[in-house]
Structure formats: structure tokens, C-alpha cells
């Protein structure tokens, strides 16, 4: 069954079509990748799904519910969560605090409860800190909970960002280039980790990735974007043999798709 369906999604900036008529269907518990050269509109698509942009045309629905034009916080409440290409942690907060903020949607403590600290609030706080520690352990950051996010090493920051995204208990997790800036062994670890996310937590994963090896090894299905248009869709094998894709990548310089950092949309 499809968890995320996009139909004819179009997003314009000025006269430019950042996305034009994108159709996409992500099945539940799938690992689905979006690839494409720089400026192809991948991150723009993420921003449309998470509610930061409202597409001019088209419909995006999550589990059959239309989420087009919902505010980002509402979308998160419905079970979508994301990470960023250029890690965006709350730098001056500790790792545990970062995760606690991620748990926001299912915490209930309010203004009054926070002040008087009634039993329920205290209990909730205790449980959430426990859960945060479990999440830290899950992403391999056990014992680093009280460190400032900014003082964690790069790889740990990536993991913490994923832990924060997991904290909202998402059904759909959007990962924006999770292996950017990693060396081969770290990348390999990340690939295993992403698989674990899907297998152990049963989360659907939508992935933007530049490293072909990663994409081809873990994706079940791939969509290729180029200049805001979908040029291909299919299994890794199909994509590898698609002449249009090869042209998009190799035709304009083979290196363009490999590990480059895309400017922030």
C-alpha cells in the first residue's frame, strides 16, 4: 500500500519551474530514493512534502489524507519527519535536549504543568528522557547525551539528527543526503543503519542521495529528477540501464552527480 502519493506536483519560483508535474508513489516500509544532478529539485520536493513550500499545482497525500498546503508542524504531527542536507541541529542544546525537542508532537506538558510540575508532567519528563537515551543508544551515541550538539563529531551529528527525526515517531522519514561528507567506511555504516531503521522500526524511508553505490545498494525503487522533471522511475537495475538517466548524468559531466554539495534551496 502506498504511504505517500504525489500527483502532478508543480512548484515555481518566479518564472522557473523548480518542480513540474511530479508523480510519485512510495509504498509502505519501502526504501525509496530520489536522485538527480544538482538543482534538479530534490530538496524542493522534500520541502513540498514537509509543508515548507506549498506547491502551485498538484496534490500530496499521506496515507490517503491530503496534506498539500498544511503547515510544516501539522505535517510532522501526521507522521512525517526529516533531516537536512547541511546538518541543522540545535547547536547550543545538548544531544538529549535535541531529541526531546524532536519528541514534541507526542509530549503533553503545558505551561501550567511545567510550572507546578504535577505528577503527570514529572512522569512524562522522566519517561521521555529515558526514551531519548534509548534513541541515543539506537543510533550509537550512548553516553553522549549531555554533550552540546555543536561539540559532537561530524558523523555523530548526522546520527543525532536522525535520532531527533526518529523521536517524533514518524511513519515516513525523509533523509536528505545522509552520507554527504562521509568516508567509505562511515558510508557503509550509514547504509546498514538505514536498513536497520526500516527493518527494526518499520519506517518508510524516502532518501535523497548522491552516492550511486549507496543508492543502488539499498533502494527498492528510484525516481530520477532532472531540471524539475521526472525523467525515469524504476528499480536500481532499470535505472542503471536507462539511457536518459545515463545522459543526464554522463552527458553533462560524469562527476556532477557524485558527492557534490548542492546549494541550499
Amino acid at each position: 500500500m502506498a504511504i505517500l502519493v504525489a500527483k502532478g506536483v508543480t512548484k515555481r519560483f518566479g518564472g522557473l519551474n523548480a518542480l513540474s508535474k511530479i508523480d510519485l508513489e512510495v509504498n509502505e516500509k519501502a526504501i525509496y530514493s530520489i536522485i538527480g544532478p544538482n538543482g534538479a529539485g530534490k530538496t524542493t520536493f522534500f520541502n513540498c512534502v514537509t509543508g515548507f513550500y506549498t506547491p502551485e499545482e498538484g496534490v500530496i497525500s499521506l496515507e490517503g489524507q491530503n496534506i498539500t498546503g498544511l503547515s510544516p508542524d501539522r505535517v510532522t504531527h501526521l507522521g512525517v519527519s526529516r533531516t537536512y542536507q547541511n546538518i541543522r541541529l540545535f547547536k547550543n542544546m545538548t544531544a538529549v535536549e535535541n531529541i526531546l525537542v524532536g519528541m514534541h508532537p507526542h509530549l503533553k506538558a503545558n505551561l501550567v504543568g511545567s510550572i507546578i510540575r504535577d505528577r503527570r508532567t514529572v512522569q512524562e519528563e522522566k519517561e521521555s528522557v529515558e526514551e531519548a537515551k534509548r534513541l541515543l543508544q539506537f543510533v550509537g551515541l550512548r553516553g553522549k547525551g549531555d554533550l552540546m550538539a555543536m561539540n559532537l563529531p561530524y558523523g555523530a551529528q548526522r546520527r543525532l539528527e536522525i535520532a531527533r527525526a526518529l523521536a517524533s515517531r514518524p511513519k515516513l522519514l525523509l533523509l536528505d543526503e545522509p552520507t554527504a561528507g562521509m568516508n567509505p567506511s562511515e558510508t557503509q555504516e550509514m547504509v546498514h543503519f538505514i536498513r536497520r531503521l526500516r527493518d527494526e522500526l518499520e519506517i518508510t524511508i524516502l532518501l535523497i542521495e548522491h552516492q550511486m553505490r549507496v543508492v543502488m545498494s539499498i533502494s527498492e525503487k528510484i525516481t530520477v529528477l532532472d531540471f524539475g522533471e521526472k525523467i525515469a522511475e524504476g528499480t536500481p537495475v532499470e535505472i542503471q540501464n536507462n539511457p536518459q538517466v545515463i545522459e543526464a548524468y554522463l552527458g553533462r559531466g560524469a562527476a556532477s552527480g557524485l558527492g557534490q554539495v548542492q546549494p541550499v534551496a
Binding site: 513550500y53 491530503n66 498539500t68 498546503g69
Partner: protein, 353 residues
């Protein structure tokens, strides 16, 4: 489509639109009632409009400084109102000296040039100092930080000038050639007002030409587009930014002399209200946009001068002129809520994430 509309309307929008609507109704009703009562003659309205335009001219020149700096650094130079104050406050002493020497009315053009030079020079120096000390070291700091230093610099300057020149009022001598009025097409125009309007328009054009046509202006515009690329092209970014501040300072200093023609008293607090209103004008016209600043300033000047009598008198509000500052601030608040890009600004609402 309907569905997305409903989802997008929040309680915020409802409150904002209700307040906006209430004020619009008040303004329309008040204006209609005032005009129906016929308390003021056409002549009065014209007089008020001319006063408004003269004031608008002064605001336009000050607003230029806000707009240029905003364009290049994307920050509000909070200390600009003090840049505006420093020039004319100093020039008032120069004017006094010229009067004592007997040059003031015998060589009016020369005197005026001296006073303008002093005012523009001092304002420019202060602007450069502020940039150098309070902003440049913090260019990469979080947004809140330069804003706070700007407020600090503003207070420091205000009270430094109070300490240097005294807390009293400093009279600005009247010049013979600006005494009296002209009758143009049956309309009485005070010479000072005419001078302020003409002066502001001419100076605005000159400054605009500098920004648009000169090499320096081109450097400014390229730095405002992208600092790093500009630096790669061989533009000295620090220097260009300093020049921008200086140019804004010159405009503010010149505005100060025009302001003194209209209100011939200088004091250390004289920058606060004109500064805030010029900022309003810059936002009204579309911040970062030079013609916009001019347009916004003229509109604001008119609204401020005509507004109290037109909108509020009809509602039976006594001493409506007391509300002129409140009108300006209300305009500021509502412009920022409903159209933060201003009259001439482009809509850039979504280029955010």
C-alpha cells in the same frame, strides 16, 4: 483549492484582518465625516499637503540611509537616527559662528554650502565609525547581536552628543532668503517648505544617480547581491560597505539641514522620531529600494500631516494632531503585517527555507 484555503487560514489571520478591517472602517468613516462637516477649507488641505511633502522630502533622504544599508547588509541600522542627529546638531554651531561673523545673510549661498558640508561630513564620519566599531566585527554573528550593538551605539551617540553640546535646545538661525512665502498658482508656499521639497528631490536624484551610475554604486550593488562573489571579482567588500554607510550618512546630514529649515531647533534627541519615521517610510516603499524610499517617504509625510485632521477629526477626537506619531507607527505596524515587501518591493515570502 477551497480545502487548502481553509487549512491555511489561522486564528492569527483572523485577528489581524479584523483589526485591519476595523481601522480601515474607522479611517473611511472618519474621513467621510470630516469632509461632510466641512470644518476645513480647501486651502487648509493644500497647506497641510505641502507641509506633508516637505516633511516627506526630509524623511526620504534619511530613509535612503536605511535602505542602502539594508540592501547591502540585510540589517536595520538602528543607529541611523543618531547619524541624522549628529550632522545638523554640529552644523547649528557652524551656522551660529557664521552669524557672528556677519556672513550668514551677506553670503547666503556660501554659508549654506558650509553648513551643508559640515552637516554631511559629520554625519558621514559618525556613520563610518558606527560601521567600523559596532557592525564590522560582528558581521557573521547571530542576527540579534548586531541589532543589540546598534541599539547600544544609538544610545551612546545620543548621550555623547548630549554631553558634548549640552542637553539644551540649540537654535538654528533663520536665513533672510528663506523668509516669507511665494504664491504659486494661488497657493501659498513657504520658502522653507519649497526649499525642503526642491532640495530633497534634487539631492535624492543625485544620490540615486551615484548608486546607479558610478563605479562605486555598481560595487555597492554587486556586494548587496553576493558578498563572496563580489570579493572574488576584486571588489573590496569592507570598503564598499563603509562607503555605503558614508553615503547614507551624507544623505542624512543633508536631510538634517532641510529639517532645520522646517523646524529650526537642534537637540540631542532630534533623531529619534524622524529616524523611526524614515524607517517606516523605507519599509512602506519597500526596503532596499531607493525609489521606493522616496515614494514611501512622500506618502508617509502626507499621511502624517493630513491624516490626523482627515481621519480623526470626524470621529470627534480632540487635539487630533497629537496622534500624528501614533498614525506613523500604526502604518509601520500594518505595513509590516500585511505587505512587508512595501509598495515597490518584490514579494520574497517563500525564498526562506
Amino acid at each position: 483549492m477551497l480545502r487548502t484555503w481553509r487549512q491555511r487560514i489561522t486564528i492569527t489571520d483572523i485577528v489581524v484582518w479584523t483589526i485591519g478591517f476595523a481601522i480601515a472602517v474607522m479611517v473611511v468613516y472618519g474621513s467621510a465625516k470630516t469632509l461632510a462637516l466641512g470644518k476645513y477649507t480647501t486651502e487648509t488641505w493644500i497647506d497641510l499637503s505641502i507641509t506633508g511633502l516637505a516633511l516627506g522630502g526630509v524623511y526620504a533622504l534619511i530613509a535612503l540611509g536605511y535602505t542602502l544599508v539594508y540592501g547591502i547588509l540585510r540589517m536595520i541600522n538602528f543607529a541611523h537616527s543618531e547619524v541624522f542627529m549628529s550632522g545638523p546638531f554640529t552644523a547649528a554651531f557652524a551656522a551660529e559662528a557664521l552669524v557672528k561673523q556677519g556672513l550668514w545673510n551677506t553670503y547666503p549661498v556660501l554659508s549654506l554650502l558650509i553648513v551643508l558640508t559640515v552637516s554631511a561630513g559629520v554625519s558621514a564620519i559618525i556613520a563610518i565609525l558606527v560601521e567600523r566599531i559596532a557592525y564590522r566585527p560582528l558581521r557573521h554573528a547571530p542576527r540579534l547581536v548586531p541589532l543589540i550593538t546598534a541599539i547600544g551605539a544609538s544610545f551612546f551617540l545620543q548621550y555623547t552628543f548630549r554631553g558634548l553640546y549640552g542637553s539644551g535646545l540649540k537654535g538654528y538661525p533663520e536665513m533672510e532668503i528663506f523668509k516669507g512665502f511665494w504664491i504659486i498658482a494661488g497657493i501659498r508656499v513657504f520658502k522653507t517648505q519649497a526649499a525642503a521639497i526642491i532640495g530633497a528631490v534634487v539631492l535624492m536624484l543625485i544620490l540615486y544617480a551615484i548608486v546607479q551610475k558610478t563605479k562605486m554604486g555598481k560595487a555597492m550593488r554587486s556586494v548587496s547581491e553576493d558578498k563572496e562573489v563580489a570579493a572574488l571579482m576584486g571588489i573590496d567588500v569592507d570598503r564598499t560597505i563603509a562607503t555605503t554607510f558614508a553615503l547614507g550618512g551624507v544623505a542624512a546630514g543633508l536631510a538634517g539641514i532641510l529639517y532645520l529649515l522646517l523646524f529650526p531647533v537642534a537637540h540631542f534627541y532630534m533623531g529619534f522620531f524622524p529616524g523611526l519615521k524614515a524607517f517606516t517610510a523605507a519599509v512602506l516603499g519597500g526596503i532596499g529600494n531607493v525609489p521606493g524610499a522616496f515614494l514611501g517617504a512622500m506618502v508617509l509625510g502626507l499621511l502624517e500631516s493630513v491624516g490626523p485632521s482627515l481621519f480623526l477629526d470626524g470621529l470627534g477626537i480632540p487635539a487630533a494632531y497629537q496622534m500624528k506619531d501614533a498614525i506613523a507607527f500604526t502604518i509601520l505596524v500594518f505595513i509590516l503585517i500585511f505587505r512587508p515587501s512595501g509598495i515597490l518591493g518584490e514579494r520574497l515570502t517563500q525564498a526562506k527555507a
